[in-house]
Subunit: 199 residues, 2 copies
């Protein structure tokens, strides 16, 4: 299964980086083709500039985005999205939702003419190969508090508010909670489980 990993964490000693390693090892063992978008290493600019917004207004009529006004890296990411049968996102939760870098990937790449088209007021995915999305996030908040106090904020914006909106419904969310407070043994077990899952 052709798998595109979309990864963000600025520190290579992070647990997210260990997750990235485990997922890649599992995919390799399973002989799945794998590409990685590492937003920090790529120096991705997550900001929607005036010219991006202008292109947004002009897009979405079923044509490919070919305008030179769009950040060129978005067009490179578009090719990888079109290739992917599965997307795996890996990032930390900060202040109860995505870091700016990952939100900017959504703002600028889940874009009309890139990832979806507008059809009669509805959004429709252009990613014809894509069958499945897995979101892996880390946080130090317990799962029940994140749900009851903070309304599973990530689910509302990323899963329901983004993927489901463009018509991608097979979205799985693996939330690793209390990461700092968990012992070495638990963190090791999570990595083994993730490796196993992606074989």
């Amino acid at each position: 299964m052709k798998t595109l990993i979309i990864y963000y964490h600025p520190y290579e000693g992070s647990y997210c980086n260990a997750i990235l390693g485990a997922v890649k090892t599992g995919l390799k063992k399973g002989k799945h083709a794998c590409k990685v978008i590492d937003l920090d290493t790529d120096g991705f600019d997550p900001v929607m500039r005036g010219k991006d917004l202008k292109a947004f207004g002009e897009a979405g009529r079923g044509d490919d985005i070919l305008t030179t006004d769009v950040d060129p890296i978005v067009l490179r990411y578009k090719k990888r999205l079109e290739w992917a049968e599965r997307i795996v996102m890996i990032f930390p939760i900060w202040w109860m939702t995505m870091p700016a870098m990952m939100k900017g990937f959504i703002d600028k790449v889940i874009f009309p003419g890139v990832a979806y088209d507008m059809e009669g007021g509805r959004l429709r995915s252009r990613l014809k190969s894509l069958r499945q999305v897995t979101v892996i996030s880390t946080m130090n908040t317990p799962a029940d508090i994140y749900r009851d106090m903070f309304g599973n904020s990530l689910e509302g914006s990323l899963i329901k508010g983004t993927f489901n909106q463009i018509g991608i419904h097979d979205v799985e969310w693996i939330s690793l909670n209390m990461v700092k407070q968990s012992g070495q043994e638990v963190r090791k077990m999570w990595l083994e489980e993730l490796e196993e899952k992606f074989i």
Copy 2:
């Protein structure tokens, strides 16, 4: 009331920019001192880099952040936050939550040693003058759908997950919904109401 506006929209013809104008006019009529952080014009970089993250790990012992490792603009914003008795945030909702630029303001400026300290595992605001926060957001989704389907995602991350977490509880959220679909008259009325509110 000393008011700090934190503003993001990359298009000057936007309704958000009209809101910014109305709020500023109201504040001027009311003779309130006002400063504006315009993230797009300032060229703010919303990305948490490795060195920012390193400073994060070292901060939060009650000392001021004075490290040269932190993005210098954060130290300038710190002074304005310390001055403010009221914060007004103005931005559009994209994909059911903050744009990357505004999220990056939270990631990098609501920072230990800048906006809060860690005290025995709890977060405590350093912004001694700050009494009140007003969040003004625009979206094209109806209010009931945003609440029932997307769990008021912004509330979980920004209001409860950020301001309340650092101990700021007087937070008001003015959500302007269905902005595109509303007529000129309604949009004009909202601006008049906002101007009046800030006098």
